[in-house]
């Protein structure tokens, strides 16, 4: 009688995407946001091209991380406040998969999108062309880890009246390894070295995160709903 778990997940996914991108213009918002934050760095750090190119991987990675940070708090908050989260926890569907669908939806409109447009920004910052595929790939892998880890923070803080800053405190330490390997991978290629070891580590982190983070998120949601 109840629909299959995967069908349910695909409905969650569709709903979350509809909520994020109700109107066509909405798709442009995250892109525009990235473009503006990319523009901040030359403005703040000074426009010396050589220095910027060297730091492009780090800058793009920091932006990916901040985009995640800015959106992580909203992952479950709306659903908590209007009661949808209670309904999710009561539904007979496996929480593990539902939670995965939530984070996947969030990743699609932050990490994936940023990865897809990153070549443009990389060129703007003067990153060498050879490093661009690795940049994209590392962003794809790494931002998925960020979304999953961010989900844990979101689930832990969703029941609290204050959110915002607290979630940043909880998840930033866990973001740091991803940042390190992500930007190191790009720097390695830009410096003419091989990045496959870094990417393999990012991939391993992702597998790890996919396996464990939804469990932690589910447990945290059950705690939060009763706080």
């Amino acid at each position: 009688m109840a629909p299959g778990a995967l069908a349910f997940c695909s409905r969650i996914l569709r709903r979350q995407l509809v909520l994020a991108l109700r109107r066509p213009v909405d798709i442009g918002n995250p892109l525009l946001f990235f473009a503006m934050v990319v523009a901040l760095f030359p403005l703040g750090l000074g426009p010396a091209p050589a220095a910027l190119a060297g730091f492009a991987p780090g800058i793009l990675w920091i932006i990916a991380l901040l985009a995640n940070l800015l959106t992580a708090d909203n992952l479950f908050r709306g659903d908590f406040e209007d009661g949808s989260l209670e309904q999710l926890l009561l539904s007979p569907q496996p929480l593990y998969l539902s939670v995965l669908a939530y984070t996947l939806a969030q990743w699609l409109v932050t990490g994936l999108l940023l990865a897809l447009v990153s070549p443009l920004f990389a060129v703007m910052l003067g990153l060498s062309a050879s490093a661009i595929p690795v940049l994209m790939f590392s962003l794809l892998l790494g931002s998925a880890v960020l979304s999953l880890v961010g989900g844990i923070g979101a689930a832990l803080t969703v029941g609290l009246k204050r959110g915002g800053m607290l979630i940043a405190l909880l998840i930033l330490p866990f973001y740091m390894p991803v940042l390190i390997f992500g930007s190191a991978a790009v720097q390695a290629v830009a410096g003419g070295m091989d990045a496959s070891a870094h990417l393999a580590i990012l991939g391993a982190m992702l597998c790890f995160a996919i396996a464990l983070a939804p469990l932690a998120i589910g447990a945290a949601l059950r705690i939060s709903i009763d706080a």
């Binding site: 609290l160 204050r162 909880l170 330490p173 390190i180 706080a227």
Partner: protein, 244 residues
């Protein structure tokens, strides 16, 4: 053995036993700390390269070592509380955080002070230093999360989830920060650590490390007693304790 676990889960028993341990361990710790400090400050010869500034080692290294160990104590307690639903493990976990944070802070501040005369700068983004900073963030995150919840039951569980996630991540964090540092230009400054240490310097150091472990235990027990009181405030035994 089983009955011991059972007792560990009993707040009044734990409260009492922690009190009796503290009654002798705390004075002993304070004496050992004072002795170690005086020994290290006044009765050892200076390091031939760093001169007298090396005397900071007697607080810096013990604080760093115990702060690191403390995170594992906290995470293990968190794991026990989540898996076996043992409330007192939860109390232990919660109580580790401020102690660990204080020791991490000490390691950072003393290291930073030490850096000025030896490296000429207060701070470098060295691997060990950076990972110590992240450790401080992790501790403070647990404290902040715990304080943010009004419902301390839920707070304990939430922190247990967080610290468990932390255990998975701590090795990753350390490894990655290590890697990160070796990948980049080294900051042309190195720990002096390698130099084999003279026994006359080693003994006070060992004494201080031992005292810091004891200090960690004392502070942990004190915080646990406070937390037990707070959580059991409405039970009969606390009323009797307070009323008497």
């Amino acid at each position: 053995m089983w009955s011991f676990f059972h007792k560990l889960g009993s707040p009044p028993w734990l409260y009492r036993i922690a009190g009796s341990i503290l009654s002798w361990l705390l004075p002993l710790t304070l004496v050992a700390l004072a002795a170690g400090a005086v020994w290290g400050l006044l009765y050892t010869a200076p390091d031939f390269r760093q001169g007298n500034s090396y005397r900071i080692i007697y607080i810096h290294v013990p604080a760093a070592v115990v702060a690191l160990a403390g995170y594992y104590v906290m995470a293990i307690a968190g794991g026990i509380s989540l898996i076996w639903k043992m409330k007192m493990a939860d109390v232990a976990m919660k109580s580790c955080a401020p102690v660990g944070a204080a020791l991490t802070f000490i390691a950072l501040v003393t290291g930073s002070i030490w850096g000025k005369p030896t490296w000429g700068t207060w701070w470098v983004w060295d691997a060990r230093i950076t990972s110590m900073l992240i450790l401080l963030f992790l501790y403070l995150g647990v404290i902040a999360l715990y304080e943010a919840y009004d419902n301390k039951d839920a707070a304990g569980k939430a922190c247990a989830v967080l610290s468990l996630v932390g255990t998975v991540n701590i090795p990753i964090i350390y490894k990655s920060v290590d890697w990160w540092y070796s990948l980049h230009q080294p900051a042309s400054i190195k720990f002096t650590g390698e130099s084999s240490i003279d026994p006359s310097m080693l003994y006070p150091l060992l004494l201080m490390i031992g005292s810091f472990y004891a200090l960690f235990t004392c502070a942990l027990l004190m915080n646990m007693r406070l937390e037990i009181l707070r959580r059991e405030a409405r039970t009969g035994w606390v009323r009797k304790l307070v009323g008497a």
